[in-house]
Amino acid sequence: MLTEKKHTEPNQFRIAVIGSGPAGISAAISAAAIGMEVDWYDKESRPGGKLNDYHQLFPDREFADLVLDDFTGKADSIRIKKHFGTTITRIESANGQNVLYSNTEVVGRCDSVIVATGFDFFDARIKEEFGYGIYDHVITSPDLEKILKTGHDQLKKGGIAPESMAFVHCVGSRDQQIGINYCSRLCCITGIKQAIEIRELFPSCKVYNFYIDIRAFGSGYEELYRQAQEKYNIHFIRGRVSEASENQQNRIVVKAEDTLMARPLKVTVDWLVLLVGMVPSCTQVSVNQAQCSDPETGFYQLQNPFAGSGLEKPGIFSAGACGGPMSIPEAAASGRSAAIEAWQYLTSR
């Protein structure tokens, strides 16, 4: 790829990284390590994205704060120009030059862009039958993560530990009824991890997980699933939940079907946790006025999924979960690889 006759200095290239979650941080650090001039954007005023709101990370239960500190420490030790609090809405790309816009305002120019805008959690209110936003004791997995981080006493009612709790898998994932057919992959392991945490915090609390398949694909995930059953005695029930309602005592009545036993069942719990799937971010950028999303899933459509992470136009790359559901290690790796892709592109064009 590299030609002999062209001598290139890394610092003659200016690259923009949009987003500062695990993928954006890794991309920015890697691009700066190569020696390129990095402009780093994020819509929030501090880096980290959703990592800021997590408590412990699966499967090894590291504290999210420590992982984030490690990332930001590396980013602070290297020369990266930060433009936090800036939302990039579109990129105009022509003749190898890219102009970044925040709505109508030009906020930067660069030779290459890495888009790492991440994902959003599925809006559980769309599955109204689960009662999110209607019943106080129906929450989502990110809500629970925040509660665990800021103080699990919020789960107690009048100082009394919850007696039972249920997790619903695949909310906004693998659900044709709402047009989301793909698997978000990481909700299963999130549900397993959170169920274990609840059992540790409230040993007398019964925990039910309603699932359609458990997809514990990553390293250490299956082991955690086995632990959850054998060590923590969490009840895994195969079957979709049909609806949830509230009884007189403000407890949640869950109606479901146990498809292994082939019978309907009803469980009353203190809290219902919806393991929400990952959906495309609402702050996706457009390239030359075009949305680069896949018509099926809505995530960014990669030009060649085998060879790299190129988007709509040459010189624009995607990294992390803006291209589809990804775990934190995967997103970080994808950020690093996007930085290499960009470097290869800039030196060979």
């Binding site: 109204e128 009662g131 209607i134 044709q176 047009g179 609806e243």
Partner: protein, 617 residues
């Protein structure tokens, strides 16, 4: 010439006579079969009503619909003119031809071919022109011209349907195309035949006379006259032979249908004769294609009613009866007023599990009596916000109410009915009916238009007023039992198909809109299907989503801030495709409600004494 007038015959008339006689006998046979296959009740209706004024009313309707096609005019004027000119024009040709032949032959009873080919037997030469014009010849030419103008439109429609205001025209079976070709040929050949005869004899009016004169002046016509009349008779024969087996069977069938319907006969699975008649009466005009919301999302599938009816009529192997949302738009627009939804439902009756429905209809009230029953319905249980809002409204209004299906175990039976499981639906209905009546209720309020329609149409509930919650809430507001403060937002109402078109509840939701929102962006279009209908178990979810998206775009053209609907299913269908809040009326009301503090018992008692008089509803 005179001799010809009194003994008119030529061998060519035999072709027509064969075709016409065959059609007549076959059709007579069909009518006998239809009557034979009516249920006993329907046969009684037929006998009891045939010698009443209804027969005359039916005759009037037949003239309006089979000849003038008034209803098609209402839908599409160009299409109406096309159908009218063909049917009415042809009818007038037959009528005037007949009168002319009676007038000049002096005989009332004579073979049919005499009047059909009258111009051949009597070109008009033996009569003075002064008497002749503007008499029969003029009118015969006038109506022939009318028919030919309709024919021109029909040909245009085949190739450029959008010129007639149709996005799509029907796709036809080969035998239909064959009959169509024969039909198209009849009138140009007739024009040629009459012109040739008139040309030879120097008679005829503005059309046949002029054309005949032109033809006679350019070539020697004599040898052509007879062959042209032979071809005219031939195409008539072909058309009449094909007619009973093609869409053109609707010409006689529609008239029979109008009579039967006037006598009170309706589509039911007990009367296969009437079902078969209905299938024959479809003219395949195609207006049902463009109104179908699936025409855009499933352009390759022939699921619209005219294809569905064809599939049933010719017993084509097809599962087209499952691919329909039963929104009822085609039924509403159908110019023949066919009962398309019942036809769809009874065609679904063969579903295997239908015979084994064991669903329980009621939940048991523990024997207690209640004045107001609230029946949420199974779909409303999937939208708990509606139940919660209704609870607030009932509490605020101070009514003493009983939540009948609080455990979500009751079924109104309509989903079974829509799926063709008529027996299951009946058993569920009977259980629930008995329990409602035993409850002592005066008022039954439901949040679900599907249940509402079932309660209204199928249930027999003497002494119980059934209300959809939009109607009930409006009553509460008008009787000052609850107070609302209109919102500054702009709202748009999506009319659920089962509530508006299905049950005729159209004004109450709109009145409620005006009380809830200061600005109303409700579109003027006929209620669209949200795509979530229970009526289409055969449709893929992606298709339903496409229907929801396009309906949403049409409904929100006025850029509302909030979409209000009155059906839990619509709410659920629109939520994933909407970028604005989708609310049920109950939720919208609760948002605008002027809440009163917790009511003391005395106040509550006072309020209860002012219960809405059910009879005033």
């Amino acid at each position: 010439m005179l001799q010809k007038v009194f003994h008119p015959f030529d061998p060519f008339v035999l072709l027509f006579t064969i075709g016409f006689t065959f059609m007549g006998i076959y059709f007579l046979y069909k009518v006998i079969r239809w009557i034979e296959k009516l249920s006993e009740e329907d046969k009684e209706l037929l006998i009891n009503n045939i010698f009443t004024v209804k027969t005359w009313q039916a005759l009037g309707e037949t003239i309006q619909e089979s000849l003038l096609h008034k209803r098609i005019f209402g839908v599409n004027r160009r299409l109406g003119f096309m159908h009218m000119s063909l049917a009415f024009g042809w009818f007038m040709l037959i009528l005037i031809g007949n009168i002319e032949s009676i007038y000049y032959s002096g005989r009332f009873f004579k073979p049919i071919f005499v009047s059909v080919f009258w111009r051949f037997f009597d070109p008009g030469a033996s009569f003075p022109k002064a008497v002749y014009l503007p008499g029969f010849a003029f009118w015969m030419d006038f109506f022939l011209l009318l028919v030919i103008s309709g024919l021109t439109l029909a040909i245009i429609k085949r190739f450029r349907s959008q010129w007639l205001g149709l996005k799509r025209t029907t796709r036809q079976r080969p035998v239909d195309r064959f009959a169509l070709t024969a039909l198209w040929l009849i009138f140009p050949i007739r024009l040629l035949a009459e012109s040739a005869t008139c040309g030879v004899n120097g008679t005829g009016s503005f059309l046949t006379g002029t054309l005949g004169h032109l033809m006679a002046s350019s070539l020697s016509l004599e040898p052509f006259v007879l062959p042209i009349w032979w071809s005219y008779s031939f195409v008539l024969m072909v058309f009449f032979l094909c007619l009973p087996f093609t869409r053109y069977a609707h010409i006689p069938s529609e008239a029979v249908l109008i009579f039967f319907r006037k006598y009170g006969i309706r589509v039911s699975k007990e009367s296969p004769g009437f079902t078969d008649l209905s299938l024959h009466a479809c003219s395949s005009c195609g207006v049902c294609i463009d109104v179908c919301q699936l025409a855009d999302s499933l352009p390759d599938r022939r699921i619209q009613s005219n294809y569905f009816i064809k599939a049933l009529r010719y017993k084509e192997p097809s599962n087209v009866q499952w691919d329909c949302l039963q929104c009822g738009r085609c039924e509403k627009i159908c110019p023949v007023e066919l009962e398309i939804m019942p036809l769809r439902q009874i065609s679904r009756k063969d579903m295997e599990i239908g015979s084994k429905a064991t669903i329980s209809g009621h939940n048991g009230r523990n024997g207690q009596k209640h004045r107001i029953l609230y029946f949420a319905g199974c779909m409303t249980h999937l939208t708990p916000s509606v139940i919660r809002s209704m609870t607030t409204i009932f509490e605020q209004s101070g009514s003493s109410w009983y939540f009948y299906d609080s455990d979500g175990k009751s079924c109104c039976g309509r989903p079974l009915k829509l799926a063709g499981q008529i027996e299951g639906a009946t058993s569920v209905r009977e259980q629930l009916e008995a329990d409602f009546l035993a409850s002592g209720a005066e008022l039954l309020v439901t949040s679900c238009p599907i249940c509402y329609r079932m309660f209204k149409e199928d249930f027999v509930l003497p002494g119980i007023t059934v209300l959809h919650h939009t109607q009930y809430i409006l009553e509460l507001i008008e009787w000052n039992r609850i107070k609302v403060n209109p919102s500054m937002l702009k709202g748009a109402y999506h009319e659920p198909c089962e509530l508006g078109r299905g049950s005729g509840v159209t004004s109450e939701p709109r009145k409620l809109m005006s009380k809830l929102y200061q600005s109303d962006a409700t579109p003027l279009i006929d209620g669209l299907c949200c795509g979530g209908s229970l009526g289409g178990p055969g449709l893929a979810l992606a298709t339903r989503r496409a229907v929801a998206r396009s309906a949403f775009n049409d409904i929100t053209l006025g850029k509302p801030d909030v979409l209000v609907t009155a059906c839990p299913l619509c709410k659920k269908s629109f939520a994933p495709v909407s970028d604005i809040p989708v609310l049920d009326f109950s939720e919208a009301v609760v948002r605008s409600l002027i809440l009163e503090p917790t009511q003391p018992e005395s106040h509550r008692a006072l309020k209860s004494s002012r219960e809405i008089p059910v009879t005033a509803l």
